[in-house]
């Protein structure tokens, strides 16, 4: 089983701890994971803002970078959904414009082997107890693309429930969007922040000290509000919780006091 990590551009640049956590976790579970360095961005920001043509080189780049692997694992439901749902669409639209440019082959190769982290753990490795230890109160925000496009269902929750020491608190309005939405966050900042503030209020009302998510872009938005308000809660990616064990608690190292 040749497994590659697609860390995503946001994590590569801003949240290296999350990538490190995925590697730590998968290696602990006996998976030899590789990081092909030709990878960059899935193209979602361009595609969702209306720049489909500028996404096409990134579709081919992704397919080439991960060509030698059986599985591509990514700690982002949103980026996984981009590859699985939108790459075939991009290829189909290019074909409708009388072009192919290798896109249909790239999409057909990339889409079926791309897995969001919790899918890979639960569906491929068939594990929900990853041996993690995280003695904190946690509330979980299921990001929209993982929830609705990938249909992650209760996978993240089952993984969290198996973490020793972790107390899971219910999040009111959990399935409502946090308001990040990619470029929506800056094109419609007032609505975006209004949504984020409601999400943060519900998270704080849960009494948890950690707001967990499986998409750092949403956590960047929510964490930004939490930090601005000096709120007694930190935003932490699910991978970092799952990577943590009693013997080796996962501590943010590369990025220092990022969150």
């Amino acid at each position: 089983m040749r497994v590659a990590l697609f860390v995503t551009c946001v994590n590569d640049l801003l949240y290296p701890d999350t990538g490190r956590a995925v590697v730590t976790l998968l290696e602990r579970l006996g998976v030899e994971v590789d990081f092909p360095s030709a990878q960059s961005c899935c193209g979602q920001p361009q595609f969702n803002t209306g720049y489909r043509h500028q996404t096409e080189p990134l579709v081919r780049r992704y397919a080439d970078a991960f060509a030698p692997y059986d599985y591509v694992v990514t700690p982002s439901g949103s980026c996984a959904a981009m590859v699985r749902d939108n790459y075939p669409k991009i290829a189909r639209k290019a074909a409708a414009e009388g072009r192919d440019d290798g896109l249909s082959q790239a999409a057909a190769a990339a889409a079926p082997k791309t897995y969001e982290l919790t899918e890979f753990l639960v569906d491929v490795l068939k594990v929900t107890d990853v041996g993690a230890y995280f003695p904190h109160t946690v509330t979980y925000h299921p990001s929209c693309h993982g929830l609705r496009m990938l249909g992650l269902g209760d996978r993240p929750r089952r993984l969290l429930e198996a973490v020793r020491g972790l107390e899971l608190r219910e999040l009111e309005g959990a399935e409502e969007c946090c308001g990040f939405g990619g470029t929506f966050a800056v094109k419609n900042p007032d609505v975006s922040v209004a949504m984020g503030e409601d999400k943060v209020r519900h998270a704080l009302d849960s009494g948890a000290s950690v707001l967990c998510g499986a998409d750092n872009s949403c956590l960047m938005h929510l964490g930004g509000i939490l930090r601005r308000d000096d709120a007694p809660m930190r935003a932490v990616h699910l991978a970092e919780i799952l990577a943590s064990t009693q013997e080796q608690p996962f501590t943010p190292a590369v990025s220092g006091a990022v969150r």
Binding site: V7, N11, D12, L13, L14, Y15, P16, G19, R20, V23, D34, F35, P36, S37, A38, S40, C41, G43, Q46, F47, N48, T49, G50, Y51, R52, Q54, L58, R60, R61, K89, C144, R148, M149, E175, E176, C177, G181, F184, A185, V186, K187, N188, P189, D190, V191, S192, V193, A194, M195, G196, M220, G223, G224, I225, R227, R228, V254, S255, G256, V258
Partner: protein
């Protein structure tokens, strides 16, 4: 569409104000959350919901593919049943036809059934200028009309008002339009409904002309269908001597049997009712029963242009249930008026820019009025993939391209104000498609991390940092750590470090 909405601010500017309106936010949160939960319950009762949804989409898609055939069949059936069919190419055309039809009766007053098509064309404003008073009889439309307001929701046009605000409107304005509100009117729903009933009854009994839309038109029989909760529609459809129905051409269904699907999905999706209280159907005219004259005005107003775009076409499946509005987190916070159209919410964000085009700044902003969370697609009873159509329309705004306008295929330029964004996207692509450049960007970001300000000065930067901190840039990127990790692993196991040397250049 109509002049009513000309010159309104783009969505983000309108939302800047509306999101700060605490009363509006409270009214909308309460109303949308209540109906959202009820709808989920009503839909959850049906084991074959997904089958009904797929059937509804299939019927609509089939009809849209053969729209010309079904419209001509409908025209023949309505005519044979004693009605008269008029074809209106746009809003001005429809308004002119309706005005002439009302004039021909000699009347200067009409009663109206709640109708999205007549909101779309701004019929009431047009009639007023022509000296004809149009009285809305749906309770929420009445509130909007008395309050000199605009509807903010497809099903509940006065959703932005709470009951004490409604009482104030009734007290102030009812007298100017007809029977005044009873003295000492309270804000209990029963009292408000009774005040409206008394006010409206004299209008129902006096009116000689009724104006409606229709939820469905059956091609094989020429039957019109209006689905409602209050019974005001039934009064307007049966008491007047002349009935004029203004209906979008996409409302046709081929057969009577097709109603089986929509009469299940529409009420559950819109009011969370298993069955709506009043379903009125009429076929042309009938001697001694109901209106003696029936006119059907078939409205195009951008629909044929929308039909020409196969990506955007599914928007025409819409049965105006408003389930997408009720689950939309953006609608809930911005309110319906920010969408600047008779059609607010997610469906409005894909319908308005297709019906009106994207030349206006407001219309060009609508496809971006969504976080693409997908809640609308989940609840849509005719399975319109609203997020995908939003992205499709964003492409039209950002990059321009081929569209059909007024029946002609033309190539439009990108909308104004996207030049800087286009340049940024190009620059980003150069970086992301060249590993050396991507590495350099990461290196630069990490080296300058101490210099990054907490608040950014540019407009896009401020949009983020006014209310949110930026993430701190870490000392090293993930790939920096990976290189060290690989060296360490190789040292530990004696295995060679894997691939992952930097490959330069675009592929």
């Amino acid at each position: 569409m109509s002049g009513t909405y000309l010159g309104l601010p783009a969505f983000p500017e309108a939302a800047r104000t509306s999101t700060k309106d605490a009363q509006l936010r409270a009214n909308l949160t309460h109303a949308t959350h209540t109906i959202r939960a009820k709808r989920a319950g009503a839909v959850g009762e049906l084991a074959d919901w997904q089958g009904l949804r797929a059937a509804g989409a299939a019927i609509k898609d089939h009809t849209l593919r053969h729209l010309d055939t079904y419209l001509e069949q409908l025209e023949a059936a309505v005519t044979a049943a004693g009605g008269t069919v008029h074809w209106a190419v746009d809003a001005a055309d429809a308004n002119r036809i309706v005005t002439e039809l009302v004039r021909a009766t000699g009347e200067t007053e009409v009663v109206k059934v709640k109708s999205m098509a007549t909101q779309e064309i701004g019929l009431n404003d047009h009639l007023r200028v022509e000296g004809i008073s149009a009285y809305e009889t749906d309770l929420a439309e009445l509130i909007v009309q008395l309050g000199d307001d605009r509807p903010s929701h497809i099903l509940v046009p006065a959703i932005h008002k709470n009951r004490s605000q409604i009482r104030d409107i009734f007290r102030t304005a009812m007298g100017e339009w007809g029977r005044p509100a009873p003295d000492g009117l309270s804000d209990t729903p029963a009292d408000l409904a009774e005040a409206a009933r008394l006010h409206l009854r004299e209008k129902f009994l006096r009116a000689k002309v009724g104006i409606s839309g229709a939820n469905f038109m059956v091609a094989e029989t020429g039957t019109m269908v209006v689905v409602e909760s209050e019974g005001n529609g039934r009064m307007c459809l049966t008491l007047p001597e002349t009935l004029i129905s203004v209906v979008g051409i996409e409302k046709v269904v081929p057969t009577f049997r097709d109603l089986e699907v929509f009469l299940q999905t529409l009420p559950r999706s819109s009011t969370a009712e298993r069955m709506n209280p009043y379903t009125s159907m009429w076929t042309g005219t009938t001697d001694g029963d109901g209106p003696r004259t029936f006119h059907l005005v078939l409205l195009d107003n951008g629909r044929t242009d929308t039909l020409a775009d196969t990506e955007g076409r599914p928007a025409l499946r819409c049965i105006r249930c408003s389930a997408c509005l009720n689950v939309c987190p953006v609608y809930e916070r911005a309110g319906g008026h920010a969408y600047g159209s008779a059609y607010p919410g997610p469906i409005g964000a894909i319908l308005t820019p297709q019906l009106r085009g994207t030349a206006d700044a407001l219309d060009a902003s609508l496809p971006y009025a969504s976080s693409l969370c997908g809640a609308c697609y989940d609840v849509c009873p005719v399975a319109i993939d609203i997020p995908s159509i939003l992205v499709h329309l964003r492409e039209r705004v950002a990059q321009g391209g081929e569209v059909v306008t007024a029946g002609r295929r033309t190539t439009i330029k990108p909308a104004k104000g996207h030049a800087a964004e286009r340049a940024a996207m190009r620059a980003a692509l150069v970086t992301l498609d060249h590993p050396v450049a991507w590495r350099a960007t990461q290196y630069l970001a990490a080296r300058t991390r101490r210099l990054h300000p907490r608040r950014l000065p540019t407009p896009a930067g401020r949009a983020w940092t006014d209310r949110r901190d930026l993430p701190q840039v870490p000392a090293g990127s993930f790939r920096d750590w990976w290189r060290e990790h690989e060296k360490e692993r190789a040292g530990r196991t004696g295995a060679p470090a894997r691939d992952t040397g930097e490959k330069g250049g675009a592929q």
